[in-house]
């Protein structure tokens, strides 16, 4: 809905830095587009290796997004709707992967789930080899993406408030029923955009993945890893694949754009 709103003007000079910012974001895209070899584009993005990498990326990102929803929704609810000692500290720690260099996350994961890691012996005994497997890719992606979902959902929960939940409880709805029939539907837009952000972050995940999962074709070599490798051996293919990733990212942002609902 577009309505003519009365507003005071913004200072004229503010357009200059705003424009520079937009240029900074868009110019590199133009630079990349200028290097695309359009005649070979379709061939380059449909090679066996390219399709394998794209397929792996989409599958692992989908699984890690599902994990983010399963784990992140309860985390956001606990952070937004309860209070306990140390909650503030916990909230900051949960957000750590957002500000941590992904490589550091990868190392942390390696020394937790790797063969010589904290849980290595236990996992070995179970016959599970996590590091350098597709599971490692999913773990790395979930690790870095989870805070995105938690942050956006916690914000949605706080702004939705508890008034509807109080009314629902007074009508006899148990906490589980309130959660399922009132809380979740009310924050659904926030959940969708949080999950979309998590998916986008998973799709672009590089540092933690290459550290913890390596770059094995078909198993752990996701699209960003494949592009990084191609960059040296076949720059044209790297540019073509990059463009493909940009297109996927733009579609994802289109989904997550706030204010699209309602």
């Amino acid at each position: 809905m577009t309505t003519q709103q009365r507003q005071v003007g913004v200072p004229a000079w503010i357009y200059l830095p705003a424009l520079l910012g937009a240029v900074l974001v868009l110019l590199p895209l133009a630079g990349m587009l200028s290097r695309v070899d359009w005649s070979r584009f379709v061939d380059l993005v449909t090679t066996e290796s390219a399709r394998t990498a794209l397929g792996l990326s989409l599958r692992t990102s989908a699984v890690s997004t599902a994990l983010c929803v399963l784990l992140g929704v309860p985390m956001a609810v606990v952070l937004a709707r309860t209070s306990f000692p140390g909650q503030g500290v916990l909230r900051s720690l949960v957000l750590l992967p957002m500000v941590l260099p992904p490589v550091v996350g990868g190392i942390a994961l390696l020394y937790t789930f790797g063969r010589k890691g904290l849980l290595g012996a236990e996992l070995d005994a179970l016959g599970v080899q996590v590091a350098f497997s597709t599971i490692a890719v999913v773990l790395a992606q979930t690790f870095v993406s989870l805070p995105f979902l938690v942050v956006s959902l916690e914000g949605a929960l706080r702004s939705a408030g508890q008034r509807y939940e109080v009314v629902a409880a007074s009508l006899g709805a148990s906490p589980t029923t309130v959660f399922r029939r009132v809380t979740l539907p009310l924050v659904l837009p926030g959940l969708v955009s949080g999950a979309t952000l998590a998916f986008a972050r998973s799709l672009g995940e590089f540092g933690a993945t290459i550290t913890f999962a390596g770059s094995l074709e078909g198993t752990t070599r996701t699209l960003p890893l494949y592009i990084y490798q191609l960059r040296v051996t076949d720059p044209d293919a790297a540019v073509a694949m990059s463009l493909l990733l940009v297109v996927v990212a733009v579609v994802v942002i289109g989904f997550a754009r706030p204010g699209r609902t309602g």
Partner: protein, 345 residues
């Protein structure tokens, strides 16, 4: 269904005992911060008392050892705003209670239709809550609360957010559907108290200031708040052949009820319309006269209500202009002894 509450909440200075008999509607009156919301929160299970207990019939809902979760109390809340779930249709909003109690979808919708019809909102069933007016929304919220089959209903200023034009119709509906139920209704409105409530409890500063049948409390208020919402002037003092107020003046009036003993706490109560206003003190008349400073003037139909602190006088607009009244003006309020009711508090 009877409610018995006696609870304290230390950090709010709250210490109240409240009983609601089977089928009785009790109106809770009081200024902001007097403890009305605290009372509702304690009964609904949104707040734990520091001491005391809440009983619904023989069931202890809150107490030293007992704690029943809000959803298990069968106490329904109706707030100022309808708070209809925006993602559900009107029908499914009303069916929410029965559904939560485990009824099948078809059965709960049947219940919902019954209650929508009962509050005169049967034609709204398929609407989305976003497409309702304030009055319609509140009707639906009433139906939703009743459909949950609560043993006790808590209404928190149910008419406060409504247009004056639609409030009377909803008030009539509430009067009808609440008739045989146990209800606690928080209100600021004398009309709500008179039409909906059997009994009135006035809270002030976390304590019960007075209670009694609605008509009696409003006709013979003993608390400052009840006098204010009844639109009456009240002066408080000790019996000394008249009402000896704190500033030493003596107010004469007609004693109603038991004859007070000297020193008994008494009040003098009169209607603002019975008060005459003069610029100069009227000499040698048998009237009560108070020198007061005008604090506020407000239009009241074809009259003007002249406020002077806790007192008010109603004069015609013409008289107000003639007297050249404005806040800060010193005037004399005068009222005949025969217009003043005096009784013990």
């Amino acid at each position: 269904m009877t409610l018995h509450l006696h609870a304290t909440v230390a950090d709010r200075g709250y210490d109240v005992a409240l009983d609601v008999a089977d089928g009785e509607t009790v109106a809770l009156l009081g200024p902001n911060g007097a403890g009305k919301s605290t009372t509702l929160d304690l009964v609904a299970g949104l707040l734990r008392p520091d001491s005391g207990a809440v009983h619904l019939d023989d069931r202890e809902l809150s107490g030293d050892r007992a704690w029943v979760a809000p959803h298990d109390r069968r106490v329904a809340l109706l707030a100022q705003e309808p708070l209809l779930f925006p993602h559900l249709s009107v029908l499914d909003n009303v069916a929410f209670g029965p559904r939560s109690a485990g009824a099948r979808r078809a059965v709960s919708r049947e219940t919902a239709r019954h209650w929508l019809a009962e509050v005169g909102a049967g034609d709204l069933a398929d609407r989305s809550p976003a497409r309702l007016s304030g009055g319609q929304g509140q009707r639906v919220a009433v139906a939703r609360a009743l459909a949950a089959d609560p043993r006790l209903l808590l209404l928190d200023e149910p008419m406060a957010a409504l247009d004056v034009a639609v409030a009377p119709a909803l008030r009539q509906t509430l009067r009808r559907v609440l008739a045989d139920r146990s209800v606690v209704v928080v209100t600021h409105d004398a009309l709500d108290a008179l039409l909906l409530a059997d009994r009135v409890v006035v809270l002030e500063d976390g304590r019960v200031a007075e209670e009694g049948p609605a008509a009696e409390v409003l006709a013979r208020p003993r608390s400052a708040f009840a006098a204010r919402i009844a639109g009456l002037d009240m002066l408080r003092g000790r019996w000394d052949g008249g009402v000896r107020t704190a500033d030493g003046s003596l107010v004469h009036g007609l004693v109603t009820g038991p004859e007070p003993e000297p020193g008994d706490p008494v009040v003098a109560v009169f209607r603002p319309a019975a008060v005459a206003v003069y610029r100069e003190p009227p000499g040698g008349s048998p009237r009560n006269a108070f020198a007061v400073e005008v604090t506020d003037l407000e239009p009241l139909g074809d009259q003007v209500r002249v406020r002077a602190g806790d007192l008010a006088a109603d004069v015609t607009t013409y008289a107000a202009a003639e007297l050249d009244l404005a806040p800060g003006t010193w005037v004399t309020f005068s009222v005949k002894a025969s217009e003043v009711a005096v009784y013990r508090t």
